[in-house]
Symmetry: C2
Subunit: 335 residues, 2 copies
Amino acid sequence: MTALKHKDQASATPLDQLAERLHVQMDATNATIIDRSKSHIPLISQVAEYLIAAGGKRIRPLLTIAAASLCGNTDGAPRVAAAVEFIHTATLLHDDVVDESAHRRGKPAANKVFGNKSTVLVGDFLFGRAFELMVETNDIRILDILARASRIISEGEVLQMALTGDLDITIDQYRDVIDAKTAALFAAACAAGAIAGGGDQNAADAMRDYGHHLGMAFQMIDDIMDYETASAAMGKDAGDDFREGKLTLPVILALAAADDTERAFWSRTMKDNDQTPDDLAQARKIIAKHNASAAGRAIAQAHATAARKALETLPESRMRGILDELLDFVVTRNH
Amino acid sequence: MTALKHKDQASATPLDQLAERLHVQMDATNATIIDRSKSHIPLISQVAEYLIAAGGKRIRPLLTIAAASLCGNTDGAPRVAAAVEFIHTATLLHDDVVDESAHRRGKPAANKVFGNKSTVLVGDFLFGRAFELMVETNDIRILDILARASRIISEGEVLQMALTGDLDITIDQYRDVIDAKTAALFAAACAAGAIAGGGDQNAADAMRDYGHHLGMAFQMIDDIMDYETASAAMGKDAGDDFREGKLTLPVILALAAADDTERAFWSRTMKDNDQTPDDLAQARKIIAKHNASAAGRAIAQAHATAARKALETLPESRMRGILDELLDFVVTRNH
C-alpha cells in the first residue's frame, strides 16, 4: 500500500487517510494476500502475483477494515479483507477473459500474458482461497454475506453481457447491472467488516447500505470517466466501454436526449459494433453536448447522499468522518 | 435420476442400487439442483439447465447421501449433495472453456452453444450457489471441506495444463493431477456427507479415504477408456485426451515400455501436437501391444483395495456392502 507516512495530512485523500490510519491492518491484509496467493503449482502463484502485484486501489479491503474499526475491533478483519480482495481479483481475471481486455491496472491483462486457460483457472483458485479464508473466521454470517455477493456478481456480469449493444436499456436496468457487478461486493465488504469487528445487525445493515451506495456512485463515476480520461490515468484502456458496446450511464443519458443523427451514430457504433478510429471522440462530443457527464455525476451524488444517511446512524468518530469524506472524493474524482 | 424401481435387483449396478435405495433423498437433491440453478437472469438459468438437464451419472451426490446414510441421518444431505454437484458442474463448464471441448454428456459442450463468456460466468454463478447452499447447512466443517476441495480442483487443472505434452511426466505427477482434479471432490463429497449425517471425525476420515481412492480408480479407468471406447458410450468424445496432448495412465505406461519408433510417435503426436487422422488408431495399437490398459486397471484395482480397507473400519450394513460393490463396478466398467 502507498500509505503516506511522510505526506501532508491536509492534502491526503480519504483513501490515503484510511490507508494511513489502518496501515497495521492493511499490512496484515497484504501479507495474507501475498501468502495465500501462493500455490505449490508455480504457474498459479505466477498469475496470481502478476495481478496482485499490480496493486489497484485496495478500496474494498480498506472498507472492510474501516467497517471493523468503526465497530470496535479489527483483530479478525485482515483475513476477511483478504478474502474480499481475492473475490474481486478472481472477478477481474474472469472479466478480462470475458471482455478480451487488453489492459488492467496499467499492465497488459493477465489473459494476454498467460492465456485464457490459466486466467480462468487461477480465478477459480482465488475464489477457493477466498472461501478457505472465510472458513478460518469460523463465522458463518461472513460466509453468508460473501457467498451471496459472489453469486450476485456473476449474475451482474451476465446481465451486462445480455444488455450489450441494447440501445433500449433503461436506467433501472443499468442500475441492476452495476448493483450486481460492483455495489454488491462493496456492500458485502462493509457488512462483513462490521460483523468481523463485532458489530450488531444494525451496524452491519448500516454499513451494507453505505457500501451499496458508495459502490453505485463509484461505478457510475468510473463509467463517466471512461469517456473523459486518458488511459494512463485509469490503469485500464479509456474508451473500453464504448469499444465493447457496453451501454453505461453517460451514453444512456445522451441517448435519452439524442436527435435522429445521434441515435443513428449510437446504433452504428454500439449496436452494430461498426466503429471508426474517430468515433470515440465523436461519442465524447455528443456526451458533452448533452451535459450527460454532469447529469450522471448528479445521479452518483444522490447515491453518495444516501450512503451518508446510512453512515449517520452509526456513532460519530474520526473514522466515520473519513468514510463520509470518501463519498465526496469518489463522486468528484476525475482519475 | 434413473432409479430402477421395476428392474430386477440382481442385474442392478451398485449405482442403480444406490439410486433406488436413496431415491427420496436424490429426488430432494435434484429438486434443489433444479431450483437453485435458476436465476432472475434468464441466460443463466438457460446455460445451467442445459448442462444439468444432460444429467451425467450424479455419482458425487449419490456418494454424499450414501455417506450420510451410513452415518445414520440423511436429513441434511440433499443440500450438501446439491452443493457438491454444483461445484462439479461449475468445474465442467470451466473445463470445457479451457479444453475447447466439443462434447460433454453426449451433447455439444456449453461453450460451443452459448459461447465462452456465458460459460465462464455461469460456472462462477454455480460456485456461488454451491457456497450459498453450504452456508444453509450452518456447519462450518462442511464449508471447510468443500472450500478446500474447490481450490485443489483448480490447482489440479492448472497442473494438468502445465504437464500437457510433457513426455517426461512421471506416474507420481499423473497421480497428483488426478488426485487434485478428481479424487479431491470424491473425497470431499464423502467426508461432507458423513459430517452432514452426524458422523464423527473417524467416520468422516474413513469416508474421505474411501472417496479419495474411489476417485483415483474412477479417473484412471476413465483415462484408460478414452483409448478404448466409442464416443457415444462415453458421452464425451473418445480420444479427447490424445488430441489434447494430455499424458494419462495408458500412455505413461506405454511410454515406459516404448522403443525409439514408438517414442518418436508419442513425441510427434502428443508433444509436437502433429497428428494425422490415423494416429489415434495407432496409439491404441501401441497401448494394446504393451498391455498398458491391463496394467493401468491393476493400478486402479490397488486404489479400490485401499478404498475397501477404509470402508471396513465402518460398521457393517447393506449400504456399506453396496459401496464396496461400487469399487469393483468402477474398476471393471468399460463404458
